[in-house]
């Protein structure tokens, strides 16, 4: 069943089509890759799905519901989590606070009770603290909990971004270049984590330039170029697709 369905999405920026009539779907439990050269419209597509930009045309259907017109926070509450390409974190907060503050949807006690700090609220917060620690543990950042996010090396900042997205307990996770700037061993580690996230039942849409990782991880891949979808299929088929090779390497003059 399609968890996410994108139909004929279009987005213009000052007359230029950044995303031009793109449609594809992501099935429940899959990892789908979104690849293409720089400027192909991948991040714009992420922004359209997650509600940061309204599309000029087309529809975004999530779990059978039209979410095209929703704001970013409403999309998040529907169960779509995302990370950002540039490390977007609460830089001046500790690693632990970053994840702890990321819990929002899970609070059941009403706000006025939170204000009164009732025992139930304290118990709830205690449980959420533990859940935050568990996520840090899972991503291998538990030892850095007291460090300011801004002081982390780049790779760890990326991992923290994923922790924050996980704290929203998404059904669908949009990962925007999670492997950028990582050394080979860090890359392997994160690839393993992404698999484990999938095993937890979270569906993943992945934008990434590291082709080996994409081919290795994804069930299916969609290729964009100049805002258009130029190919779609299993990693094997994409690898053999002539148009894709051309888009990346340039046309071979015969």
């Amino acid at each position: 069943m399609a968890l996410l369905e994108i139909r004929n999405l279009k987005k213009y920026f000052s007359g230029l089509a950044a995303v031009n009539d793109v449609g594809f779907s992501v099935n429940d439990g899959e990892i789908v890759g979104l690849i293409g050269p720089n400027g192909a419209g991948k991040t714009t597509l992420f922004n359209l799905i997650s509600g940061f930009h309204p599309p000029d045309q087309g529809k975004v259907i999530f779990a059978g519901e039209d979410i095209t017109a929703l704001r970013a926070d409403q999309v998040a509450r529907k169960g779509i989590g995302r990370t950002f390409q540039a490390s977007t974190l609460f830089m001046q907060s500790t690693v632990f606070s970053n994840v702890f503050s990321a819990f929002y949807r899970q609070y059941r006690q009403p706000g006025w009770k939170a204000f009164l700090h009732t025992p139930k609220v304290k118990r709830e917060e205690q449980a959420i603290r533990k859940a935050a620690m568990d996520i840090l543990e899972f991503m291998g950042l538990a030892a850095l909990g007291g460090e300011l996010a801004t002081n982390l090396p780049h790779g760890h900042q990326r991992a923290l971004g994923i922790c924050i997205a996980l704290a929203t307990e998404p059904r669908l996770l949009l990962l925007d270049e999670p492997l950028t700037g990582m050394n080979p061993s860090e890359t392997m580690e994160i690839v393993r984590k992404i698999r484990q996230i999938q095993e937890k039942g979270i569906t993943i849409l992945l934008v990434e330039h590291n082709m080996r990782a994409v081919m290795d991880l994804c069930d299916r891949i969609t290729v964009l170029n100049y805002g258009r979808k130029i190919a779609e299929g299993t990693p094997e088929r994409i690898r053999k697709n002539r148009e894709v090779t051309e888009a990346y390497l340039g046309r071979e003059e015969a």
């Binding site: 997650s50 940061f52 704001r71 970013a72 926070d73 409403q74 998040a76 509450r77 989590g81 995302r82 950002f84 977007t88 974190l89 609460f90 830089m91 001046q92 907060s93 606070s97 702890f100 503050s101 990321a102 819990f103 929002y104 949807r105 609070y107 706000g111 939170a114 204000f115 009164l116 700090h117 609220v121 917060e125 007291g146 924050i164 997205a165 704290a167 929203t168």
Partner: protein, 330 residues
Amino acid sequence: MGKSLINRKMSKNRLIFGGMVLAALVLLPLAVKNAYMLHLFIMAFIGIVLGMTFSMLFSAGLITLGAGAFYAIGAYGSTLLSTRLGLSFWAALPLSTLITGIVALAIGSIIVRHPGMAFTIISLLFAHVVIQAAGQIEFFGGWGGIIGVERPDPLGPIQFTTKTSFYYLILFLLLLTALVFHALYTSRIGRIWRAIKLSPPLAETLGINLYRYRLLAFVIASSAAGMAGSFYAHYFQMITPEAFGGWLSIYIQLYAVLGGLEFYILGPAIGAVIMTFVPEYLRIAKEMEPIITGVFLLVIILFFSGGILGTLQRFWTAKKTSVLSGKEQL
């Protein structure tokens, strides 16, 4: 384990320190017999409440230059309720606080949609509009203001005729505000504000409706400013538009900046006390006073970014970490 032990010790120290400050504030009128000195404390405490309202908006990533507007709305609301409707201060205080909150809800629902520079400038203009309206419209007393605002009715045996009685009244209102604000900052609402301040787009991906939480901060902060305004009107027993205009909103902001922007309660407290008393003692140099005060503030802001408390904290953590690393070497 060790960390929580340090935390517990720190919070215990904090409690002791807080208790001592509280005791000093309660006992202060016994030591300070000079009525003018007590008046300065009363004004400083009003300043603290106003500074805290600036800081609350700052905690949610909004910088206001219009805190004085809601102070004025509270003062005028309370004055009109008392002079036109004959309400006692004890009814006018909560009612004018509520009215200010409702006005803030109406105004905020428009201007909070434009965070950043736009919000700051609109808040400044709004403050200007409020003062002009008070001055130009006869119903609000015009530029001459309104005189004859009733003192608070006696509260049991307590008569509100002395500076000391007003001192305790504003001290109570100040502590109440600080307590409410503290409870908010330490709850998840405070964490949500902080998330919005540190990274609006990231906060949105968590499912936070930025607009609603910014508006919440705006309404709560403005209501507190309105409450301070109500107290002011019944303390002075008269109000004029000028009392809320001019540099007031800038000064309110400076309280928070001087004390330390990241300290939402203690920052304005220290800033407002210093900025109330230091210029008083500079009065000897009368016409030079604003210049000296201005230069003093410039030095603080330029060379001690983070304000007084921020600078102290940096010294403190630097010392602590150097001690720690020394131990590790052993």
